[in-house]
Structure formats: structure tokens, C-alpha cells
């Protein structure tokens, strides 16, 4: 994919921070409001893909290496599975932080969605891990596809 016009690039620069903040908001508030790791991760990844489309996959690949994305994805997957293993004294995927005080350990107050962020035990951490994984996974899929289409087009031009 080649670079698009300066108007598109400027607008995507303007929009990127808002999209990232919205996506991370959805990830972090997954245990309070609709959404969660998958949905917020898809929002953040779509912001990254917008930049990729605006600037072209070559320039995007010079800023965000595929290796970094795969490291991020591995951190997400390992975090999720190790959180599951940490509750193993009771059961796999046992929520060992909920209602104990401390990190995310508060018991939510009564009433309709009071927005107490420090609740729900391991769920926010799992949301974060899933979100990291979805961001890195979707972004790396689109990046690899963009680079591959670039190379294939180049190869076709060389053949003729």
C-alpha cells in the first residue's frame, strides 16, 4: 500500500489519540460497562490500521516492527494463562483477587453501575491481557498482509 494524500495523513494524525483513548477506556472499564478486551482491542487495532492505510505499510513497518507486535501478543497470552494458573490453589481460572481488598479487590457498592474501577479481582487484568493480544494480533495480521501485497506487486512488475 502506498502513501495517501496529506489531507488523509493529517486527519489520521488528529484522530489517532482519540481512538486510542477510547479503545483503552473500553478495555480498562470492561468489568463495569459494555465492552472488554476483545472489543477495545479491536478499536485500538483499527486506529493503528487507519495509520497504516494513511501512511502505507512500508513506512508503518519502519515505526512498528512485526517483532514488537509478536512480543506484545505473547505477553498478552502468557499473562492470561498465568493469571489462570495463579488461581490454581482452588481451581484453574479461579478469581483469587475478588473481594480480598488490595489490587482490584473492592466489593462493588449497591446500585446501578456506580463505576467503582477497583473491583472484580482478576477480570480487569485478564481484560488487559486479552486486549494486548487482540491489538497485537489484528495489527500484525494487517501489517503482514499489507507488506505481502506490496512485495507481490513489486515481483509482478519485475516479471513483466
Amino acid at each position: 500500500m502506498s502513501e495517501m494524500s496529506k489531507i488523509v495523513r493529517s486527519i489520521s494524525n488528529l484522530l489517532l489519540p482519540f481512538i486510542l483513548i477510547y479503545g483503552f477506556y473500553i478495555i480498562l472499564h470492561g468489568h463495569l460497562t459494555p465492552g472488554g478486551g476483545f472489543q477495545g482491542g479491536a478499536v485500538v487495532a483499527s486506529g493503528l490500521v487507519m495509520v497504516l492505510v494513511a501512511y502505507g505499510s512500508e513506512r508503518f513497518a519502519s515505526w512498528v516492527k512485526e517483532k514488537h507486535l509478536s512480543v506484545l501478543e505473547s505477553i498478552g497470552a502468557l499473562g492470561f494463562i498465568s493469571l489462570a494458573f495463579l488461581g490454581l490453589s482452588t481451581a484453574f481460572f479461579y478469581n483469587f483477587l475478588a473481594g480480598k481488598g488490595g489490587l482490584f479487590g473492592d466489593i462493588p457498592p449497591e446500585g446501578s453501575n456506580p463505576g467503582a474501577l477497583n473491583t472484580a479481582g482478576t477480570l480487569p487484568l485478564m481484560n488487559l491481557a486479552v486486549g494486548l493480544k487482540v491489538i497485537a494480533g489484528l495489527a500484525s495480521i494487517v501489517l503482514v498482509m499489507g507488506l505481502a501485497s506490496h512485495y507481490f506487486k513489486q515481483g509482478g512488475e519485475n516479471d513483466t
Binding site: 470492561g30 468489568h31 463495569l32 460497562t33 459494555p34 472488554g36 476483545f38 512485526e66 509478536s70 501478543e73 498478552g76 497470552a77 492470561f80 494463562i81 489462570a84 481460572f93 478469581n95 475478588a98 473481594g99 482490584f104 479487590g105 473492592d106 466489593i107 462493588p108 453501575n113 456506580p114 467503582a116 473491583t119 472484580a120 479481582g121 482478576t122 477480570l123 485478564m126 481484560n127 486479552v130 493480544k133 487482540v134 494480533g137 500484525s140 495480521i141 503482514v144 498482509m145 507488506l147 505481502a148 512485495y151 507481490f152 513489486q154 515481483g155 509482478g156 519485475n158 516479471d159
Partner: protein, 174 residues
């Protein structure tokens, strides 16, 4: 019930072995499809109709893709039936399907009243047990976290497949 289950498992194992051992690619693909469909029937008998539906859909799609790929690459269909015979065959298949669903659909549980009453437990004690205001999240990441683990693995495998196929620069290009 147990007898039926055992019979189904034997059929599944036999068709899996057939899918591996058969030399003819098209027959192997069909054996693989039969294996998947019988697994779907097992899911249905184990009171998991949602999983059974997903299994049927995925199995049909993969069978289509496999058969298209095999016919495009290996076989040239020497003879093809005339349009009228194909139309008659299609009508017969649709009639069998409709007859089958006419008898089966009344047997299924009514929409919105599942056999398992576990959801009431989530609604009553979800906030207390997980501390999460969002019941959907507490089901996704606490009660049914294995489901999310499976989804994560699916995402991982798809990233792996795309990277493996597309990352290498084609030889002679670039």
C-alpha cells in the same frame, strides 16, 4: 442413550481413521466432514445446541473450501449431469431437509427457556462472587474463561497462519 453415544464415537473414530488413510483426496475430505458432523450430533445430544450449530456451520464451510480446492487442483469433472437432473436432485435434498426439520424442530427446547438453569445463578450471585458489575464480562472471563482461552488460541493460530504464509518475500521479487 449410552449405546447411541458409543455408536457415534465409534463412527467418529472410524471416519477420522478413514480421513487419514484414504488415498483419494475427495473421499478423505468427505470422511473428515462426516467426522465433524457426527461430533456436532454428539454436542447436540449433550445439550449444547449452540456448539452444535457452530460445529455444523464450520464443518460445512471447511468441507466446501476443501472440495473446491480439490476439484480445482486435481480433478477435471469429465461428465456433468444435465441441468434438469441437478434440479430434481436439489429439490429432493431440500424436501428431505424440510421433512427432517419438520420432525426435529418441535423436539428442540423452546427459545429462551434452556434446559440448564445455571444462568439464574449467575444473575443472583455474579456480583458477589466475581465483584464485576458487568455480568457479561464476569461470564466471559470468570465462569466461562475456558471459552475465552479458546478464542485467544484461535486468534493466535490465525496470526501464525497469516505470518507463515505471507511473511516470506517471494523469490525473484522485491
Amino acid at each position: 442413550m449410552d449405546l447411541l453415544m458409543g455408536f457415534l464415537f465409534i463412527v467418529i473414530i472410524a471416519s477420522a481413521i478413514a480421513a487419514v488413510e484414504l488415498k483419494d483426496l475427495l473421499a478423505a475430505a468427505l470422511a473428515l466432514g462426516a467426522c465433524g458432523f457426527f461430533i456436532g450430533v454428539v454436542f447436540f445430544l449433550m445439550m449444547a445446541p449452540d456448539l452444535a450449530i457452530v460445529q455444523f456451520v464450520v464443518e460445512t464451510l471447511t468441507l466446501f473450501v476443501l472440495v473446491i480446492a480439490i476439484t480445482r487442483t486435481h480433478r477435471r469433472s469429465a461428465r456433468s449431469e444435465p441441468v434438469r437432473i441437478r434440479a430434481v436432485l436439489g429439490v429432493i435434498v431440500i424436501c428431505i431437509f424440510l421433512l427432517f426439520s419438520f420432525f426435529v424442530i418441535p423436539l428442540m427446547t423452546e427459545f429462551g427457556s434452556p434446559d440448564q438453569r445455571v444462568s439464574q445463578h449467575y444473575i443472583d450471585r455474579g456480583i458477589e462472587e466475581t465483584g464485576s458489575e458487568n455480568l457479561v464480562t464476569s461470564v466471559l472471563l470468570d465462569y466461562r474463561a475456558y471459552d475465552t482461552l479458546g478464542e485467544i488460541i484461535v486468534l493466535f493460530v490465525s496470526v501464525l497462519a497469516v505470518s507463515l504464509i505471507l511473511r516470506e518475500k517471494p523469490k525473484g521479487g522485491g
